[in-house]
């Protein structure tokens, strides 16, 4: 058989043949990153809103910290989670190292600051607009939080996508805590590293194109969802 040297042809044949192991890798990538982003959203959006709403000592430092952590190198997040989950570490008993669960935790660490920092900024903007109304209604801060988050939902969707982009694109953290075990913790980005290491550059680039295609599909879906609800709610 003629060796295929064109990355686009490789990507196309990977997609058309619906290769079983590729399907598993893609499914795991999506599962891990989507679960990580959802967990980070459940924790990060209320955190961001709370920092926007309340005044407390050290608030400025907290904002700087959240902003700085947006740039946390994935491999550092991976190393921290590795040391935490390693048998010799404090949470070693859980036996989570080299499982998809460990990869989710590492990606939550990466995505949480992005969601919290960006939602903090958006909620603070909205609060400026709504403040007088809130005061005239005599609303307490805990009551303001859901209103503000709901009214910021389109911006939050974009922030969610930024978080998903970070999670699905990183390789350093999942490589370290997942171990790139075939059929268990191998995801798109770690396969690309592996194939590059084998010198299979067209296959590696082909996998990269498949990954890009998937991320585009998800973004297109989110865009359509946003547009539809925007139109419906006016």
């Amino acid at each position: 058989m003629e060796k295929n040297n064109n990355a686009f042809d490789v990507a196309l044949s990977l997609l058309l043949n619906l290769d079983a192991s590729l399907f598993q890798i893609v499914a795991l990538s999506l599962q891990v990153s989507i679960l990580a982003v959802l967990i980070a959203a459940v924790l990060g959006f209320p955190l961001g809103a709370a920092v926007a709403l309340w005044r407390f000592p050290g608030r400025g430092a907290m904002i700087v910290l959240l902003n700085a952590l947006m740039g946390l190198p994935p491999v550092v997040a991976g190393l921290m989670v590795y040391l935490l989950l390693s048998r010799a570490g404090p949470l070693g008993e859980w036996g989570l190292l080299f499982t998809p669960g460990a990869m989710v935790i590492a990606q939550v660490v990466l995505v949480l600051p992005i969601l919290a920092a960006l939602s903090r900024q958006k909620v603070e903007e909205l609060l400026g607009e709504y403040r007088e109304q809130f005061i005239s209604l005599g609303m307490s801060r805990p009551r303001m939080m859901p209103t503000l988050l709901w009214d910021a939902r389109f911006a939050l969707l974009t922030i969610l996508l930024a978080g998903f982009g970070r999670a699905s694109a990183e390789v350093g953290a999942v490589m370290m805590v997942g171990g790139n075990i075939e059929g268990v913790t191998r995801v798109m980005t770690t396969s690309i590293v592996l194939e590059t290491g084998k010198g299979n550059l067209p296959l590696a680039l082909g996998l990269g194109i498949v990954l890009l295609f998937l991320v585009m599909l998800i973004n297109a879906g989110a865009y359509l969802l946003g547009e539809l609800t925007r139109r419906r709610t006016g």
């Binding site: 924790l43 998809p100 669960g101 592996l194």
Partner: protein
């Protein structure tokens, strides 16, 4: 907040469980990139799984990192290629038993026009000295892997302290190092298995092979039950014993890439 935390934990653990259920009995094996990148595990692990029903999850890293993973109790078994390092590992009480499994050899790779003329040399020592004399670009793994440790011993044998612009420490695995060497037209030492299976050679070719000092022994280690009582010692022993059994040794001998045998079983 508490609710969210427990929700988070439930999500994560259910995920962990979901992925554990379809592989009820498994061991985690820390091994080297050379065995993984060549495809050896894809060939022999299924045979072991058929025979015993035990799955093997391979974490492929450099030998230095593999030792570290095992030392922390994060792997059930270890298959690496640094015999003196392995013996130290046992002396320090981290492992209880070691067995020779197989060998292959290191080869010297370089640009086809061979500016340092190493293809005509008689020994690895001469070849390394010729590269240093010519100050021809050499890419080193520089990652404390088994291959890196062997390479540094060979420079020492040649009486060379590798230093200067021509010596590039990459801190990468074998495959990435070969990719870089191909791009830089540099000399590089590789294990034969990774080289034969490597797909991006460009102008690189095999220039020197066959010296006894390039011999590369792989060993399987059983980890200390005292230090790591939580590990799956029983399953790990089955894997260890299978590797050095007639079936395991035959599986290793039958593994071929491009018609070439890459690992030679030599369990005693």
């Amino acid at each position: 907040m508490k609710k969210m935390l427990s929700l988070l934990l439930a999500g994560v653990t259910s995920m962990g469980l979901a992925f554990n259920t379809f592989a009820e009995e498994y061991i985690t094996l820390a091994s080297t990139t050379s065995t993984e990148n060549s495809g050896l595990f894809d060939a022999i692990v299924p045979k072991f799984e058929d025979a015993t029903g035990i799955k093997v999850r391979v974490v492929a890293v450099g030998t230095g990192q593999a030792f570290e993973i095992a030392r922390r109790g994060d792997a059930d078994s270890l298959l690496v290629h640094d015999t003196s390092g392995e013996q130290r590992f046992i002396e320090n009480g981290h492992a209880s038993e070691r067995a020779d499994v197989m060998y292959n050899d290191f080869v010297l790779i370089g640009p086809a026009d061979d500016p340092a003329r190493i293809s005509g040399t008689q020994s690895a020592t001469e070849a390394f000295a010729a590269i240093a004399d010519a100050e021809a670009t050499f890419t080193s793994r520089g990652d404390d892997s088994g291959t890196n440790r062997a390479e540094l011993r060979l420079w020492q044998n040649a009486g060379v302290d590798p230093d200067g612009d021509w010596y590039r420490e990459l801190g990468s695995g074998m495959g990435p190092t070969l990719n870089t060497a191909a791009a830089m037209d540099a000399y590089v030492m590789s294990d034969r298995a990774t080289w034969v299976a490597f797909g991006n050679r460009q102008n690189l070719t095999l220039l020197f092979e066959g010296d006894d000092v390039l011999f590369n022994q792989y060993g399987s280690l059983l980890l200390s039950e005292d230090k790591h009582p939580h590990l799956k010692h029983g399953l790990a022993r089955q894997w260890h014993n299978w590797l050095i059994s007639d079936d395991g040794q035959q599986a290793i001998a039958e593994f071929r890439v491009k018609g070439q045998q890459l690992f030679f079983p030599n369990a005693k």
